[in-house]
Structures are given as structure tokens and as C-alpha cells.
């Protein structure tokens, strides 16, 4: 299942990219699964995604808990906590 991944905030800076299209295996169901799968792709991902407490997500433009499934999503965004006012 192809998914467009977008990165914002600290993750964008750490990974040095703002987006990519991925095709995760079928056992990758939730955002946390996705983060774990991405972390296995190399040292840069592992380092950028190491602190799970600072990873937030949105599925198809909606904030979501990282335990949520992204099955059927077209776009998943991963980002550090928002700036605030």
C-alpha cells in the first residue's frame, strides 16, 4: 500500500527531507509500527525517530494518536510537537 509521508519540524530537519512515498509491508498497521519500520531503514532514520515521545502524527490531514491505524490513508504526516502561540 503506497503512502505519501510528509515530515515537519524537527523530523524534517533531522532527516533532511520533507516527503517521500513508501510501501510498508502488511504487518505495519499503526503509526508506531510505521515509525519502527522506518527506523530500520538506516542510522539517520533511527536517530531522528529515536524519541518516540516527541513524534506526533496526522492521517489525511487529521491529528491522530500514534497508536492509530493508517490503513487506507493516502497521506501520513510525522512531526515534532507544534510551535504553539
Amino acid at each position: 500500500m503506497l503512502v505519501d509521508l510528509l515530515y515537519f519540524g524537527e523530523l524534517r530537519a533531522a532527516l533532511g527531507r520533507d516527503s517521500e512515498r513508501v510501501d510498508p509491508p502488511s504487518h505495519v498497521l499503526t503509526i508506531l509500527d510505521l515509525v519502527a519500520w522506518l527506523s530500520e531503514r538506516g542510522a539517520d532514520y533511527q536517530a531522528a525517530l529515536a524519541d518516540r515521545s516527541r513524534i506526533c502524527a496526522a492521517i489525511d490531514l487529521e491529528h491522530c494518536p500514534v497508536g492509530d491505524s493508517f490503513f487506507g490513508a493516502r497521506e501520513v504526516a510525522l512531526f515534532s510537537p507544534v510551535r504553539g502561540l
Binding site: 510528509l6 515537519f8 519540524g9 524537527e10 524534517r12 530537519a13 496526522a58 490531514l61 491529528h63 504526516a77 512531526f79 515534532s80 507544534v82 510551535r83 504553539g84 502561540l85
Partner: protein, 143 residues
């Protein structure tokens, strides 16, 4: 009236509050956010998630409109490079009663603070000096 703007350019808070006054509200409340000044901050770059920001701001404004009898809501967020002291965001509400305007403004501020998809990258005050220091080392290779 709900007016939501996400823009690079600066804005005039007085003009925006006057727009709410023109709706004959009994009260106008506002919160103006600035880029915090600090000795170690030369500038910041505000990035955002455009499609989600537009949708999330509209949703939050809709929630406030449903909860309080408002005559108007103005939300303005800036993105791009900003300097300490620059205006970053304006939240303004108009209502017949000051209680409604203030409560709605506080609600909007709280929700936007937690949900508006904007991020800040700080350019440290010594970044330019560091960059300048690095340049001569690279230059001989180009010669």
C-alpha cells in the same frame, strides 16, 4: 464572519480589530503573538503544513462559533522567515458581550496552541558568524 489567513506578509492588528468593530459587536477581544526576542535568536523560520493548517484553523474557528454567539472571528498566521519582535499570529473575536468575546478568544488560543500545525526553526545569533568562518576554507578548492 470568519476570516482565516495564512500568509507571509505582515498585518495591521488595529485594522483587523476595526473590521470587527464595524460588525457592531459590543466587545472585541484579541491575542497577538510575537516572535520571542532572545540574545541567542537571530531569526526564525516558521514552517507549516498548508493543507492541514487551513483545515484545522477553520475547524477550530467553527468550534468557537458553535459555542459562543460571535459576530466575527479573525485568525491570521504568518509563515516564512521572521525576526524577534515580528508579529506571528493574531486571534480576534467580536461578540455582543465582552464575556463571550474573551472566552471565545481564550478557547481559540488554547486550541490553536495545541493543534495549529506550525513549527519554528531558530537561526542562532552566531550562525552568520559561523557561516562566514567556514567560507574561506571552502574557497581555495574553487580557485
Amino acid at each position: 464572519m470568519i476570516d482565516i489567513r495564512i500568509q507571509k506578509s505582515n498585518f495591521d492588528p488595529g485594522r483587523q480589530l476595526a473590521r470587527l468593530e464595524e460588525l457592531h459587536a459590543g466587545a472585541v477581544a484579541a491575542s497577538l503573538s510575537l516572535v520571542a526576542a532572545g540574545e541567542d535568536v537571530r531569526a526564525v523560520t516558521i514552517e507549516h503544513y498548508p493543507a492541514m493548517a487551513k483545515r484545522e484553523l477553520a475547524r477550530i474557528a467553527g468550534e468557537a462559533e458553535a459555542r459562543w454567539p460571535l459576530t466575527g472571528i479573525i485568525l491570521i498566521f504568518r509563515h516564512g522567515r521572521l525576526l524577534p519582535g515580528d508579529r506571528f499570529a493574531l486571534i480576534a473575536t467580536g461578540a455582543r458581550s465582552s464575556a463571550a468575546a474573551l472566552e471565545a478568544c481564550a478557547y481559540l488560543r488554547e486550541q490553536l496552541n495545541a493543534r495549529a500545525p506550525f513549527w519554528q526553526r531558530v537561526l542562532p545569533a552566531d550562525a552568520a558568524a559561523q557561516a562566514a568562518t567556514r567560507l574561506p576554507a571552502a574557497h581555495p578548492r574553487e580557485a
